[in-house]
Amino acid sequence: MKYLSEFRDPELAGQYLNEIKSIVRKPWTIMEVCGGQTHSLVKNGLLIMLPDEIRMVHGPGCPVCVTPLNLIDKAIFLAEERNLILCSFGDMLRVPGSKKSLLQSKAKGADVRIMYSPLDAVKLAKENPDKEVVFFAVGFETTAPANALSVIQAEQQGVNNYSILTSHVLVPPAMEAVLNDEQNVIQAFLAAGHVCTIMGISEYYPIVEKYKVPIVVTGFEPLDLLQGILMAVRQLENGEYKLENQYSRVVKAEGNAAAIKLLRKVFEVEDREWRGIGTIPASGFELQKNYRRYDANLKFDIQIEKAIESKECMAGQVLKGLMRPHECPQFGKKCTPSSPLGAPMVSSEGACAAYYHFSQALETTPA
C-alpha cells in the first residue's frame, strides 16, 4: 500500500508541477499513448493542474476502443449462434457492435462470461468438455503473453474445445500511423509503460530518429505521469529528441525475455484493422500456423454481414488526436456512456468517456 501512496504524494506532485511551469516557454502537444494513462490523468484530476501551454492528447492505446466493429459482431455471432461459452475481459462487454453489445447478447441468453485471465477460460473449457469455449483475446502487447500462454496450456493439456478470437494490436505501428497522418499535431509521446515492460524499449529508437520526436516511456501513477511530462517538456524546450525511460523501476530495456519468446512462438505479426483508424501495416498479432486450430475465426463458420461504422462517431479523429472528445457534435448529446455511439465513450480508458466527466468538471469548477 505504501507503494501506492508514495506515487500519489501531493507535495511531490506540486514540485513536479512547479518545475514543469518553470521550464515551459512555448505551447506543446503531447500524446499519452495508453488508455490507462488517460484514465489516471482524468481520475486524479491532473489535466486541469497542468499549465495552459501543455495540451495532452489521448492516444489510441485503449484496446476496447480500437477493436474493429466486425470482430465484436463476430464475437456476438459466436455467442448467439454457435451455442458456446464466450469469455471476455469485462471492458469489452458494453462496446457496441453494429447492432448490439455482448452485454445485450448476454441479457438475451447467450453464455457470455467475464474473465480476468484467459487461463481461467482454459480451465472452464477443461471443466466443460462438451462445450466449446472461446476467449475474446483483445489487447496490446501487455495482454498478449497471457493469451499466448492459454493456447500453449490448452495444447499441453489436450484441451481441444478451447480457441481464441484474436484482436491483438501493437503500439509502435500505431504511433507511426499517428505521426504519418498529414494533419499530425503530436510533438512528443509518453509511451505506454506496461507495453514496454513486456517488449522492452528498443522498438522506439527508430521512431525517435525517423520522426525526430521525443518519446518518454512512462508509468501510470500521478507522479509517474508528471515526471514523464516534465521529461518530455524538457526535451521539447531544449530542441532535443531522444528515448527516455521514466518507468525504469518496472521497465527493463530488454523487456521480459520469457514473454517475448512466448509471443514469437505463438503469434506472427500481421496487418490489422483498427477501429476508427483503418488498416495499419504490421500492427497486430495472429496465431502462427502451428496454432491455427486454436483460432476461433477458422474453427467456426462465422457468417456476418460487413458492418458499416456510424458516420456520426468521430472516434477515428479522436484516437489520432485530431479532435478533442468534446469538440465532437454528438459528444454528451447523442453519445453518452449509457448510450455510446462509439467505443471511446464506453471504456473507462476511452478518451470520450474520460472527457464526459472531465468537461463537466471544467464547466462548473472554478479553475
Binding site: V64, L223, A361
Partner: protein, 352 residues
C-alpha cells in the same frame, strides 16, 4: 466465523426434516408447504404476530411511520462475513433507520430454487433470526414460493419493513443546505470486495469480510443526541458512496465536494480495488451510512460517532457547497479535481 457458526447451530439445531432438498411442492401452498413451515420455520421466528397464522399481520403503530422494501439476490449466497439471510434483514432495517425510523416489523418472502439444500436454507433462517434479534425487529408475515431448477439462483429474498419515526428526526432532501458536513461512519467498499473475493472465476485469498450489520442502534443514538441537526441520512449500498452522493446532489439540487484522502478505507480493500481495477467509491457497502449534518455540530457528531462501535473509523469526508449544483466534485489525493458521476452500469474490470 467458525465459532459463531457452531454456536448458532447449537442454539438452533436443524430439525429432522424428512426431505433434504427443497422441491416444487414446498411452494405449492399445500401439505408440503405446511410441513416445511411447521417443521421449524414458524418456531424459529416465533412471535405473537406470526402466531396468528393469518394472511397478514395485525399491527398497532401510533404516529408517523416509514415503510420500505428491498429484494436480495446476492451471489454467492454465503460469503465471507455473512449470508443472504442477514443481509435481507439488515438491508431493510438500515433503510428504515436512514428514514429516521425505529425499525419494528418485517415481512419475509422467499423465492427458492428447486434443489436448495435444507442445511443451507436452515443456516439462512438461523441467521435471519439472529439478525432480527440484534436489530430488535420481528418477522410478522411471510411467503414461500419455489421455482423450477434453473429458474432462480438458489434463493431470493424480499423483505419489507415498517418503523416508527424517531420523534426528533427530520430527514429530508430539502433540509440539506450549503455548509452542511458529510460524514461517513466507517470504511468503504468492504462488502463489495468481500463478495468479489469469492465470485466464481475470481477467488483470491484475503481476510476481507462483509460489513453487513444493522445500523439502527447507532443511528437512533445519534438522533437522540442531535435530532433535527441531522439533515439527511443514506446508506450507500449498490453503486457505492459515489452513486449515492450523486443521487443526493441531483435530487436535492445541491453541490457536493468530497476529499479522496479523507475517505476511510481498509488497506487490504484498497489494495484489492487497485488489483481489480475498481474505484472504491463505486463499490457496494452494507454497514456504512452517510450523514449530512449541520456544520455547527459536525465536530461533536464525529466525536460521538467515533465513540460508538460502528463509528470507530468515522470521518468527515466533505461538505455541501453552493457551487456546481447537482454535481459531486472530488479532490484527488494529488490535489486535482474531477466530477464523480453515476456509472452507466456495473463497474466492469479494465483490460490492462
Amino acid at each position: 466465523m467458525t465459532q459463531q457458526k457452531i454456536s448458532m447451530q447449537l442454539q438452533c439445531p436443524m430439525p429432522a426434516f424428512d426431505f433434504d432438498v427443497i422441491t416444487l411442492g414446498h411452494g405449492s401452498g399445500g401439505l408440503l408447504t405446511r410441513k416445511l413451515l411447521e417443521s421449524g420455520v414458524f418456531e424459529i421466528f416465533n412471535n405473537p404476530f406470526l402466531n396468528e397464522k393469518h394472511d397478514g399481520a395485525y399491527l398497532n403503530l401510533p404516529g408517523n411511520c416509514a415503510f420500505t422494501t428491498d429484494s436480495f439476490v446476492v451471489s454467492p449466497i454465503f460469503f465471507p462475513g455473512g449470508n443472504i439471510g442477514e443481509l435481507a434483514v439488515n438491508g431493510t432495517v438500515n433503510d428504515l433507520a436512514m428514514c429516521g425510523a425505529i425499525p419494528k416489523y418485517l415481512s419475509l418472502s422467499f423465492i427458492l430454487e428447486e434443489g436448495l439444500r435444507m442445511e443451507e436454507f436452515w443456516e439462512i433462517l438461523v441467521s435471519i433470526k439472529t439478525a432480527c434479534q440484534k436489530a430488535g425487529v420481528h418477522i410478522v408475515t411471510g411467503d414461500t414460493k419455489v421455482v423450477e431448477k434453473g429458474k432462480g439462483d438458489k434463493i431470493f429474498i424480499n423483505t419489507s419493513g415498517i418503523g416508527q419515526l424517531h420523534p426528533a428526526s427530520s430527514i429530508r432532501l430539502n433540509r440539506i443546505k450549503a455548509g452542511d458536513k458529510i460524514i461517513l461512519n466507517g470504511n468503504i467498499a468492504t462488502h463489495g470486495i468481500a463478495i468479489m473475493s469469492v465470485r466464481e472465476g475470481l477467488t483470491f485469498e484475503s481476510d476481507i469480510i462483509s460489513d453487513t450489520m444493522a445500523l439502527n442502534e447507532t443511528v437512533m443514538a445519534l438522533l437522540d443526541e442531535f435530532g433535527q441537526q441531522i439533515h439527511f441520512l443514506r446508506d450507500p449500498t449498490r453503486g457505492g458512496v459515489a452513486t449515492t452522493l450523486s443521487e443526493i446532489a441531483r435530487d436535492g439540487g445541491v453541490g457536493i465536494e468530497i476529499v479522496e484522502k479523507y475517505l476511510p478505507i481498509d488497506e487490504q480493500v484498497a489494495g484489492a480495488c487497485e488489483i481489480l481495477g475498481l474505484d472504491p467509491v463505486y463499490v457496494a457497502n452494507e454497514g456504512v451510512f452517510i450523514s449530512i449534518v449541520d456544520e455547527k455540530i459536525a465536530d461533536k457528531y464525529l466525536t460521538t460517532l467515533k465513540g460508538l462501535e460502528q463509528g470507530k473509523n468515522a470521518a468527515i469526508i466533505g461538505e455541501v457547497v453552493i457551487a456546481h449544483p447537482k454535481q459531486v466534485v472530488l479532490t484527488s489525493k494529488i490535489g486535482g479535481k474531477r466530477v464523480v458521476n453515476m456509472l452507466a452500469g456495473d463497474q466492469l474490470p479494465r483490460i490492462c
